[in-house]
């Protein structure tokens, strides 16, 4: 087996010239599990760790540009958790410290699991994902990159290079339901972003469909019901309608991790709590005082 360790993207592309069916390896936290289970037998491997263009992050105007090789541990760092609080929170829920030190954002996208924890946040932030190959670059929305469970539109030799998201956009929440208190695959996860300036709420649901789902009806409804000047809801009854719309957006299945009914229920509860927290924060109160019993 040939292993390439390119130092830059050009070298990575060259590797694909030599071995067109080579496979990309980032942190290996998904890749090696598949190798161990004999589900993947790579003929050649292109290691991305040393590729300069995939490392770190930078601010460009009001956008954060995240290298695909950024790890969860890095996303949880002090600066990024201010700029992208939702993504930092999602990162905190991923695996264990070892996994967070090795696992990357690019790998989460590459795996395209319906349960990937960074994905709902990226969806709610309307992230743009830049992919490149020898042939050039493209910029994709999450729904254009990930089109099914573990299915992406990445072409042969195409590498995810970076992810572009707005910096410090409004309020952000991420909640993840699992069957234990840590180190668990999401049974359901929810990201909620309230863009105060743009007067919109965005809500994305994970693990309740083949791909991450934006609860568009729920978003539109609740955006229209918020008193944007006072940053409150005019009618608390609207929360129930919001929750119902979130639930109906979900398309969950029964499997060995949970049931469709529970998943649908759980995204409703999580979205409602996320909204409650976001609104409470902006009323200067604590979310304990303003959370709604369901």
């Amino acid at each position: 087996m040939t292993v390439f360790v390119p130092a830059c993207l050009e070298e990575a592309f060259d590797a694909f010239d030599k071995c067109p069916d080579a496979q990309l390896l980032a942190g290996g936290t998904d890749f090696m599990v598949e190798v161990n289970f004999a589900l993947r037998r790579p003929p050649a491997v292109v290691c991305l760790r040393k590729v300069e263009e995939l490392k770190g992050w930078r601010l460009e105007h009001a956008e954060v540009v995240l290298g695909a090789g950024i790890t969860y541990a890095e996303l949880m760092g002090p600066q990024l958790s201010d700029l992208l609080p939702g993504l930092a929170q999602a990162s905190r829920t991923v695996g264990s410290p070892q996994i967070r030190n090795a696992g990357t954002l690019g790998g989460n996208l590459g795996t395209a699991s319906p349960a990937g924890d960074s994905l709902p946040v990226l969806a709610a932030l309307d992230a743009r994902i830049v992919v490149a190959s020898k042939k050039g670059r493209r910029s994709l929305g999450l729904d254009e990159l990930i089109i099914g469970p573990k299915r992406t539109t990445l072409g042969p030799g195409e590498v995810i290079v970076e992810v572009r998201v707005p910096a410090a956009l409004g309020s952000q929440e991420f909640l993840k339901v699992g069957t234990r208190n840590a180190m668990v695959i999401a049974v359901a996860n929810v990201a909620l972003v309230v863009d105060w300036a743009g007067q919109s709420v965005r809500c994305a649901l994970g693990s309740v469909g083949p791909v991450v789902i934006r609860a568009r009806d729920a978003e539109e409804f609740i955006s229209s019901r918020i008193d944007w000047a006072r940053r409150t809801l005019t009618d608390e009854g609207d929360v129930a309608e919001f929750t119902a719309l979130v639930r109906s957006a979900a398309r969950p299945i029964d499997d060995h991790r949970s049931t469709a009914d529970y998943r649908r229920h759980a995204v409703g509860v999580c979205a409602q709590r996320a909204l409650g927290r976001v609104l409470a924060d902006h009323n200067g109160g604590t979310w304990e005082q303003t959370s709604w019993a369901s």
Binding site: V33, N36, F37, A38, Q89, R92, T93, F174, L175, K176, V177, G178, T179, R180, N181, A182, M183, V184, I185, A186, V187, N189, D255, H256, R257, S258, T259, D261, Y262, H265, A266, V269, C270, R273, G276, T286, W287, E288, S291, A293, S294
Partner: protein, 773 residues
């Protein structure tokens, strides 16, 4: 290092350090999966992907053509008996004609590289005709037999008193427990080396070397002495290694190829390749008088034994005999049946039949207390067994039975403080997922008591052999007792030092070649049995030593003692190092230690079938997210009847470890089956508690009443922590939610989608408020 050496010298009653502790922590301890031999091949087992199928043919030609493949074996290649089993050999080494569970071995391969072996395994074409699997244990007994021996593996009735007796208050329920896995960290692994004499040496992680040897010899058609087992480093077992795993197959491969063969199960294969805890369906009816005294217990218990017998007989016996729990019950009508299904085979796991029934009888006790308007703890105290009482099997408790003491001390432990508003979100239900809404979290407190029989019983003449050899002032202990992590290696040294006055102790590697059987590392028995054997062997050596010193120096033997490695007399006349005292003689004694005999149960389940019993109480405090059904276990308080504490740190390890598995069964651990197919054979999906799920354990009391008949007064302590901790946690969740929750593990949907329950009951309260059970 000086502290480690210091603690290592400690005697009984003190926290001596494990001799294997430092190497294990440093990653230097060789587990069975680390074995290596020059020129070895790698073995791989081909397993059935179907829970039920006819085998129409097996074509191995393709596999044999792969370069590097050295052997492919099927049932035709088994020279001896084609089946094995701990109680009765009904389990095929390799299936022929029919497969009865997903994961059943069908063929095995040896090749020069593990990947070659895997590819060869994949190239074997087994022509299966899948059939409809029998997977419902409740229907199994009356269903078409899936094995020539029928679908009833064992039926155990226990009847006492008047079957028509009735109480004024009657409560009933149907309870279920799921299929738990031992989830031992070390996967099954071994190394078989063919020997010049036509025999084989097997280095293996197991629980009982000599029983493996017996079963293997029959299948390999070799005399016992040509099947030599040597213990390899065991990475946990909890019952998973009681049955044979790869032992026969790997030796067949080694004998066929004439090369050493190593095999290591993958995690998935480990889940498919060992037995699990029997899932149970249990119907209970409790009768009590108005004063809260139990009048009668009726129980019907169905245990899913899966495809083969394994230890189902003894598990069923335990479940039936322990069916009412640690309570006085004058009248009982109990039937426990283990059935055969196309689900994975079930057998030994920590708690062994006592766990399932505890979940049910303790739920019944809480129901009964509610029906009587009595405090649940008071109800338990009114019925608690005490010495001189009889079990429903008619066996009178002649040993210690501090049931009331474990209850009283456990409930007296202070409750943990309410969760303040400032608690880190990580500590709320849902943990790292940050899902909790504090207003929607309820606290519950639950309590449970359990009984576990210790050691083998039912008329089985159980024993352990040990040898002590004193040479040049060093005692070498030889015993085949398997160290699975429980700490026998520490204890054996402590015992030898205790008896031989601080002598240096070396443990010989356990195997079948140098010593007789030590019995199984299970049933909470090794401290008592092999500890007893080591003690007896050391005492015999001590006696010989002191006798010879006594006659040589003309001092009465009773005045001699061994202190700090020297033989000394009371009057100070004699004071010589052990090495000199023996005058160059090698003193060696081998002892078989037997426990008091037990009897088989009669048709009504009557008889003195057990040697001893241990009791434990657990109080669980949980926080529950009412909407999401997520649970945080905050604390487990426990009191346990231990007889005598021989090593405090190791004892705590047993309590904490057993409770971790109990918490796991209560809220997350379950092998999920879909028509007989295992859906979660990985640590991704078979979840066990993490550090964030495992609560602090508060040991309220260790009740030390030395057990008569136990060589050092100690009772086995490994299983009781597992028996009632699950029941306590689920009781606490019931208290928080007001739901019946008749099934463990409790899944989030069982709480969140239960609809509007009757509302929180006594024992629950808002999160910030302290309550007593």
């Amino acid at each position: 290092m000086s502290t480690a050496l210091g603690t290592r010298r400690r005697r009984l009653g003190e926290s001596a350090a494990r001799p294997d502790g430092v190497p294990k922590v440093r990653g230097e301890f060789a587990f069975s999966s680390d074995l290596f031999s020059e020129g070895m091949l790698w073995g791989h087992i081909v397993r059935s992907p179907h829970p039920a199928a006819a085998i129409r043919g097996i074509d191995v030609s393709e596999a044999l053509r792969i370069p590097g493949v050295r052997a492919v074996l099927t049932s035709d290649d088994v020279p001896g008996r084609k089946t094995y089993g701990l109680d009765y050999p009904d389990q095929p080494v390799f299936a022929w004609d029919v497969v009865r569970y997903m994961g059943e071995p069908v063929a095995a391969v040896a090749a020069v590289h593990p990947e070659t072996a895997r590819r060869a395994a994949a190239a074997i074409i087994v022509d299966y005709a899948p059939t409809e699997p029998l997977t419902d244990p409740v229907a199994a007994a009356d269903a078409e037999p899936i094995h020539p021996l029928g679908n009833v593996l064992h039926r155990q009735r226990v009847r006492t008193g008047d079957p028509d007796a009735a109480g004024t208050v009657v409560v009933e329920g149907r309870y279920e427990t799921g299929m738990q896995d031992q989830a031992q960290m070390g996967p099954e692994s071994g190394l078989a080396i063919p020997a010049e004499d036509g025999g084989v040496d097997l280095y293996i992680a197991t629980q009982w070397l000599h029983i493996d040897q017996e079963q293997m010899a029959a299948c390999l058609a070799l005399p016992l002495e040509k099947v030599r087992l040597h213990l390899a480093g065991v990475g946990g077992s909890f019952g998973a290694r009681e049955d044979l795993s790869m032992q026969v197959q790997i030796c067949l491969l080694a004998l066929r190829t004439g090369r050493p063969v190593k095999m290591v199960y993958s995690r998935e294969e480990s889940f498919l390749g060992h037995v699990h805890r029997h899932p149970a369906v249990m119907w209970y009816r409790h009768h009590a008088d108005a004063g809260g005294r139990l009048v009668k217990v009726e129980a019907r218990i169905i245990l899913d034994g899966g495809a083969y017998l394994s230890t189902s007989t003894a598990v069923t016996m335990n479940a039936a005999c322990m069916a009412p729990g640690p309570y006085r019950v004058p009248n009982a009508v109990v039937e426990a049946v283990a059935v055969r299904t196309n689900n994975p085979p079930c057998g030994a796991m920590r708690g062994f039949g006592a766990v399932q029934v505890c979940f049910a009888y303790e739920a019944q006790m809480d129901k009964l207390a509610a029906a009587l308007g009595l405090d649940p703890v008071e109800l338990r105290l009114r019925n608690a067994l005490k010495p001189g009482d009889s079990l429903i099997t008619g066996q009178v408790l002649r040993g210690t039975a501090p049931v009331a003491e474990v209850i009283r001390t456990c409930v007296a432990a202070p409750l943990p403080a309410g969760v303040p508003m400032t608690t880190a979100e990580l500590e709320l239900p849902g943990g790292a997922g940050r899902t909790a809404d504090r207003d929607r979290v309820r606290r519950g407190v639950g309590f449970a008591v359990g009984i576990k029989n210790l050691l083998y019983g039912g008329g089985f003449d159980d024993y352990s052999s040990a040898r002590c050899r004193l040479e040049d002032g060093v005692a070498t202990i030889t015993c085949a007792a398997v160290e699975v992590g429980q700490g026998f290696v520490t204890l054996a040294q402590q015992i030898a030092r205790d008896v031989l006055g601080g002598v240096d102790v070396v443990l010989a590697p356990p195997g079948t070649t140098d010593i007789g059987s030590a019995g199984s590392t299970s049933a909470s028995r090794q401290t008592w049995m092999s500890g007893g054997a080591v003690q007896a062997a050391c005492l015999a050596v001590r006696d010989r030593l002191l006798k010879s010193v006594s006659s040589r120096h003309g001092v009465p033997q009773e005045t001699l003692d061994i202190v700090d490695g020297r033989v000394v007399s009371l009057d100070g006349q004699v004071d010589i190092p052990i090495s000199e005292a023996a005058r160059g003689d090698v003193l060696e004694e081998t002892v078989d230690f037997h426990h008091a005999p037990t009897a088989e149960l009669d048709v009504d389940g009557q008889g003195d079938a057990f040697v001893s019993f241990a009791f434990a109480a657990h109080r669980a405090v949980v926080d529950v997210d009412l909407d999401l059904g997520l649970v945080r276990v905050l604390e487990i308080a426990t009191s346990q009847d231990v007889g005598r504490v021989l090593n405090p740190v190791q004892l705590v390890g047993q309590l904490e470890g057993g409770i971790a598995q109990g918490v796991g069964l209560a809220v997350m651990e379950e092998i999920v089956l879909d028509h007989g197919r295992v859906r979660n054979p990985s640590f991704t999906d078979y979840v066990i508690p993490t550090a964030l799920d495992m609560p602090p354990v508060h040991i309220a009391a260790l009740i030390e009443e030395p057990e008569p008949g136990s060589p050092m007064g100690a009772k086995g302590a490994g299983e009781p922590p597992m028996v009632s901790s699950t029941a306590a946690v689920v009781a606490a969740i019931r208290a928080a939610t007001g739901l019946e929750l008749p099934r463990a593990p409790v899944r989030p949907q069982d709480i969140a989608l239960a609809g509007s329950g009757p509302g929180p009951v006594a024992g629950s309260g808002p999160i910030t408020q302290e309550v007593s059970p």
